[in-house]
């Protein structure tokens, strides 16, 4: 193995020319291309989730509307939630993990490049499987958290729930494989001199996210296995008539589900912590406090799950304990917010689009955080739970939080990823329209929620005072869609424009800005060495403005070979899960065939020279 670098050297092309064509994408193991695949796929799913939201809002614009049937409405809100969480926000974060963790670490790739490709393909197949359900008129319809015993055969006899749980199981494999990979990457592939306490904050928060993924996903895997057994093999884990208990599902789901919330927001924290210092021309305020508050949030994230279940009647002791831990989480989160403000305070603010979105993130996230602390109190929660107040809360943290931050990251890193600048003027219009439309859509939900409008109900009667607010929300949703159209227009405009983005358009502090935009396949011609938290700023202080880095041949740099086995192995994994859903139609032979196909691809993968 130690000699393979030499034995492969003669196969290395003299330069790493940009590869083109569909086959090069199918077989790619380059973390940057996989990042782009994640981003593009997730953005398409994001738009689909958005269309589902628009249909929901159109239905709710007027009381007693008949635009959607109650059945279709159930499918749409279930798929909207499932899509936005598992197929939009998580993979959009994964796009940035893929592209920027290795670059910020100063590495040539992730620790296991083929496993990385495998994760993407499994994710894609899981996402497709969830959405194929629409073609069979059997989209999942029990809410994104699929409460038992609504999901048992008795109450959900169709294929809807099968599509949902099989889709989520497939997606779980992708997340776990990616988490092992990125965890190992951060531990082992840091550049020379990059101690843990010198890592860029995005990489730090992403690193913590991998720990959450590793420890949270096995729990939903088990919860879903029990549900699969109930539905496919006639067990009674969640069936009260036979001694089972639907509350077990709620516990297992939220033991996963609450860390999942931090899986969605910690990468966003990381993005904002990159953008604010660069556009304030000042190092991040309280670096160590930022790191430890992130760790503390993740750790506490495993001790708060039952605050989603106050309404189940857990008794005063459990209510008190989970209420306390939940309120405790506000402290490290508050630390982060003050550190972001401290970073901007006294800085020379460059009001560019990425900074606007980051500031928007802080403001919106504070609103969402405050309403979150409100329902940390069980008596308040009993008023608010299952109402539109909750819908308002989690959209402020997930849309106002994650999506604003990820959009900030998109504007910030676009030139690095594609070598093209997004337009500043269009970007600013995008930001202001999105900010206004977002608040128009979701702020009124606080009021209708407190006035008693329940979530997940397809309509409401006239005369309860919900009409005006709901109409405003629908108008807001349409404007939100318009703001996304402006973003797409910006992307198309950049696509048609010249590929002339400089290596370091924003005066960045971290290693990704030291190399050409977009980076060459091998990232760094010479493996970098760092001596501080802001290596590029340090270099610029010492040497003055840096010259534009040249694109070089990269002779002798060995890169992993392209491979199609990750994709084929991914079809094996998805095939095994899908075949279980098909037992009722095809019997066990299909399962056996898929297991064999999976093993065949795994062995080919293993014995293929990397």
């Amino acid at each position: 193995m130690a000699t393979s670098a030499i034995s492969h050297a003669d196969q290395v092309p003299s330069d790493h020319a940009e590869k083109r064509g569909l086959w090069s994408w199918i077989t790619t193991v380059d973390h940057k291309r996989i990042g782009i695949l994640y981003g593009a796929t997730a953005f398409i799913f994001f738009l689909m989730g958005g269309i589902e939201a628009l249909l929901i809002r159109w239905q709710l614009a007027r009381p007693e509307n008949t635009f959607l049937s109650p059945e279709l409405y159930n499918e749409l809100f279930t798929m909207h939630g499932t899509t936005m969480i598992f197929l939009a926000v998580m993979p959009l974060s994964a796009a940035f993990f893929n592209y920027f963790i290795p670059l910020q670490l100063g590495a040539r790739d992730v620790a296991f490049p083929r496993l990385n490709a495998f994760s993407y393909w499994v994710f894609l197949l899981g996402g497709l499987w969830l959405n194929i359900s629409f073609l069979f008129n059997a989209a999942p319809n029990a809410g994104w958290f699929g409460y038992a015993n609504l999901t048992t055969n008795q109450f959900s006899p169709g294929l809807n729930i099968d599509f949902w749980m099989i889709g989520l199981q497939i997606l779980g494999v992708a997340s776990l494989a990616a988490a092992v990979n990125f965890f190992t990457t951060v531990v082992n592939l840091r550049a020379k001199g990059m101690k843990f306490m010198r890592m860029p904050m995005f990489t730090w928060m992403s690193f913590i996210t991998q720990v959450l993924l590793l420890l949270a996903f096995p729990v939903i895997t088990v919860a879903l296995i029990l549900l699969m057994f109930d539905r496919f093999f006639g067990t009674h884990f969640y069936i009260p008539a036979s001694g089972g208990d639907p509350i077990l599902w709620q516990h297992l789901f939220w033991i996963f589900g609450h860390p999942e919330v931090y899986i969605l927001i910690l990468p966003a924290f990381g993005v904002v912590s990159e953008v604010l210092p660069v556009f304030s021309r000042k190092p991040l305020f309280g670096y160590a406090a930022m790191v430890f508050s992130g760790i503390f949030i993740a750790f506490l994230g495993f001790g708060v799950w039952a605050h989603h279940m106050f309404a189940t009647g857990m008794g005063p002791i459990a209510d008190t304990a989970f209420s306390l831990t939940t309120m405790l989480i506000a402290i490290p989160t508050g630390v982060k917010i003050f550190n972001w403000l401290g970073t901007m305070a006294g800085g020379s603010l460059q009001m560019k689009t990425p900074l606007l979105f980051s500031i928007g993130f802080i403001a919106m996230f504070i609103i969402g955080g405050l309403s979150g602390v409100m329902h940390a109190s069980p008596p308040a929660d009993l008023q608010q739970t299952d109402s539109y107040f909750i819908v308002a809360h989690f959209h402020y943290v997930l849309f106002g939080g994650s999506i604003f931050a990820l959009t900030s990251g998109a504007y910030y890193w676009w030139p690095k990823m594609f070598g093209r600048m997004l337009d500043e003027k269009i970007g600013k219009v995008h930001f202001w329209l999105m900010l206004i439309a977002f608040n128009l859509t979701f702020f009124p939900m606080h009021f209708v929620g407190l006035h008693g409008m329940p979530r997940r109900v397809y309509t409401y009667p006239a005369g309860l005072g919900f009409e005006t607010m709901n109409m405003l929300e629908t108008v807001g949703a349409l404007l939100l869609a318009l703001s996304q159209a402006i973003f797409i227009w910006n992307i198309i405009k950049a696509w048609r424009g010249p590929r002339n983005a400089p290596a370091d358009p924003w005066n960045g502090a971290t290693l990704e800005w030291a190399i050409p935009s977009p980076p060459q396949e091998f990232n760094f011609a010479v493996e970098p060495e760092v001596h501080s938290r802001d290596p590029l700023w340090e270099q610029k202080r010492q040497q003055g403005p840096l010259p534009e880095p040249e694109r070089v041949g990269g002779q002798g740099i060995h890169l992993p070979n392209p491979s199609f086995w990750p994709l084929l192995t991914a079809t094996g994994v998805a095939g095994i899960f899908i075949s279980m859903m098909m037992i009722q139609f095809l019997g066990w032979w299909f399962v056996v065939a898929m297991v064999l196909w999976f093993l065949f691809s795994v062995y080919n993968w293993i014995f293929e020279p990397a």
Binding site: M1, A2, S4, A5, A107, R108, D109, V110, A111, F112, P113, L176, A179, V180, N181, F183, T184, V187, N188, L189, R190, A191, M194, L214, L215, A216, F217, P218, V219, T221, V222, A223, I225, L226, F229, F233, G234, T235, H236, F237, S242, G243, G244, D245, L248, L252, I255, H558, L559, P560, L599, Y603, W605, I606, F607, E608, P609, A610
Partner: protein, 200 residues
């Protein structure tokens, strides 16, 4: 097993092998998987609405044998690794074969046990005990079977002389997985079998 990361050809930031970091990360994740299954088993212990119960069904002697075999297999694989690292081919082949055989015997024990219980009238559908018992021990058995397949693959490579001291890491990560599957059983054996008459 030539599955190795490209990055490994360079030194790593910690000096640790990336595959070893990865398998430990995976083992940490598996802790949560088995904790959820064992937790579910215990939550439903004694809650079945009808028999047969754990106390009526489970038999200690057979499973004690299986437990001993699995524990010894951990010893066998650590001896095999020792042989591989020292370049002692005979020792590697002998102990690795013993590990695979022990693993197979455990799986055989479990298949016999399951079919015996089914004859006695306990299926996965019968009651909560059947559901939780077969799910927990079945997933453990699946892990053992995957381990057997993995170790058997390495055994074939060892016969072909491909597990040299420099490549002993390939056996080391498989051994770590195997030990983990063993310690899961170290928990399952008392919790499921020896505590079968526990009345919560």
């Amino acid at each position: 097993m030539s599955d190795h990361s490209h990055a490994l050809e360079h030194h790593t930031a910690t000096g640790l092998d990336s595959r070893k970091v990865a398998i430990w990360t995976f083992i940490g994740s598996e802790c949560m998987f088995f904790a959820s299954l064992i937790g579910t088993y215990l939550v439903y212990h004694g809650k079945s609405l009808s028999g047969p119960t754990a106390g009526e069904t489970l038999e200690i002697p057979l499973v004690t044998g299986g437990t001993a075999v699995l524990l010894f297999s951990s010893f066998f694989v650590v001896m095999a690794l020792n042989g591989a690292q020292r370049g002692n081919r005979r020792s590697l082949l002998f102990w690795l074969s013993a590990t695979v055989l022990a693993g197979l015997s455990f799986v055989g024990m479990q298949i016999y046990e399951f079919s015996h219980f089914v004859h006695e009238g306990l299926t996965i559908k019968t009651n909560l005990f059947g559901a939780t018992f077969y799910t927990l021990t079945g997933f453990h058995g699946t892990h053992v079977s995957i381990g057997v397949l993995w170790l058997a693959t390495l055994l074939i490579l060892a016969f072909r002389g491909k597990i040299t001291p420099e490549k002993a890491i390939n056996l080391e990560i498989a051994a770590l997985y195997w030990h983990f599957v063993d310690v899961v059983w170290v928990v399952i054996f008392p919790v499921v079998y020896l505590m079968k008459d526990w009345k919560p």
